[in-house]
């Protein structure tokens, strides 16, 4: 992909995925300003690392979710260390009051999903990552494996373990696993 050279490719890519990226973000943060910043950061990161995308190897959204996970992880590290790093684009500055309201609605809509994510917090990182992408973000197991850079069989094993470990902690309504619920 030539997202960093080709404005038309960038626009097409952006329009294909902006909604999914915002949903990904508001499932993980409840501050609308931070959500706007992170949405911008995810697309900037996608532009910067577009050369790592291999069309034959997986779906675009799986790759993008992999990028988004890295951005979220970096943000969490920043939050822990209380480091303020300015991004090239400040998402929050692009929002007016209407946008703020809409972002809050998006955040509200995903409240239950954030609760489910909270319940997964105790799981080992590797298992939680697969379960998150499959149950929360509705990727297939193959796509989740692609996003995480692991083999499909590994993803399957981790998913199985995670679901078993969670048991009745998370209600089936909150965590719907595609084709397996």
């Amino acid at each position: 992909m030539r997202l960093n050279e080709d404005p038309e490719a960038l626009e097409a890519f952006y329009r294909r995925h902006v909604d999914a990226v915002m949903r990904f973000v508001v499932r993980r943060v409840s501050d609308p300003h931070l959500a706007a910043d992170l949405t911008a950061d995810v697309f900037l990161a996608a532009v910067d690392s577009a050369h790592t995308y291999r069309p034959g190897r997986g779906s675009e959204i799986a790759w993008l979710y992999g990028v988004a996970r890295n951005v979220m992880a970096a943000q969490q590290r920043k939050a822990i260390r209380e480091v303020r790093v300015t991004s090239r684009i400040s998402g929050r500055r692009l929002m007016d009051d209407d946008d703020l309201g809409r972002m809050e609605e998006r955040i509200d809509a995903e409240r239950r999903v954030r609760g489910a994510l909270e319940a997964m917090r105790e799981l080992p990182e590797g298992e939680r990552a697969v379960l998150e992408l499959v149950a929360i973000d509705q990727l297939t197991v193959a796509e989740a494996a692609e996003a995480l850079g692991i083999r499909q069989v590994t993803a399957r094993v981790r998913l199985h373990r995670a679901r078993r470990a969670l048991g009745d902690v998370v209600s089936p309504q909150a965590v719907y696993v595609k084709g397996q619920a």
Partner: protein, 231 residues
């Protein structure tokens, strides 16, 4: 789309354009080999120096316009719009992203690929006619692949011969076909009617030889200008 999304898209485009301008400046400090791309880099660099705020607009409309655009419509059809015959591998990769195996060859204006390129039929596949359109001013081509028009076992083979010294002129020959399986790499051979190097400087646009390998749909070469497709 709400305002935030549109503003973010604009900001991303500006970011990319500003970066292109910066990279263009770096490129001009190295040895210039007179390639078209290098000249584009210089133009981008100059624009960047002149007025940072206008970089985005200028770059999108002039210097570093993308060579092609591949878009997938809601109904699954794939539109391909090739504005400049460069970066064939990038085009192949982009088509692969949309599930279309493609072999793209851009050749000098007096050359074509040796045929046949594989052991099987080269007559093209019987099916729906593929519309290909050539821009009003001869720049670029566009075509559409309808859903199911090409299967995973088939290869879209695009061959364009054009005068590399005058890439803005219409191609001397264009071939677009769908073949079974894969094709051998192109072995360049002279065109049956050689079209030698043209003298430098402006000249009238010559006739466009367009070889179509579709199943004989009505001639659609005089399609709408590419310039009208601002989607």
């Amino acid at each position: 789309m709400s305002n935030f999304e549109e503003r973010l898209l604009s900001a991303l485009k500006e970011d990319v354009a500003a970066r292109s301008a910066r990279e263009g400046m770096v490129a001009t400090t190295s040895v210039r080999r007179g390639s078209r791309r290098r000249v584009v880099g210089l133009a981008a660099a100059l624009t960047g120096v002149a007025a940072a705020t206008t970089v985005a607009v200028t770059l999108f409309s002039a210097g570093s316009t993308p060579a092609f655009a591949v878009t997938k419509a809601a109904d699954g059809s794939v539109d391909v719009w090739i504005k400049e015959f460069r970066e064939p591998e990038e085009l192949e990769a982009k088509l692969a992203e949309e599930g279309v195996k493609a072999q793209v060859d851009y050749l000098p204006g007096d050359q074509t690929c040796e045929e046949p390129r594989n052991g099987r039929s080269q007559a093209g596949r019987a099916g729906e006619p593929m519309e290909s359109k050539i821009g009003k001013d001869g720049k670029g081509i566009s075509f559409q692949l309808k859903p199911g028009q090409i299967t995973a076992d088939e290869t879209l083979v695009l061959r364009v011969s054009f005068d590399h010294a005058h890439p803005d002129q219409p191609p001397t020959a264009t071939s677009l076909q769908i073949v079974e399986g894969e094709v051998e790499p192109c072995t360049a051979v002279p065109l049956p009617e050689p079209n030698g190097p043209r003298p430098a400087g402006p000249e009238p646009t010559g006739p466009v030889t367009t070889e179509k390998f579709d199943t004989g749909g009505p001639g659609k070469d005089e399609g709408p200008s590419l310039d009208t497709r601002n989607d």
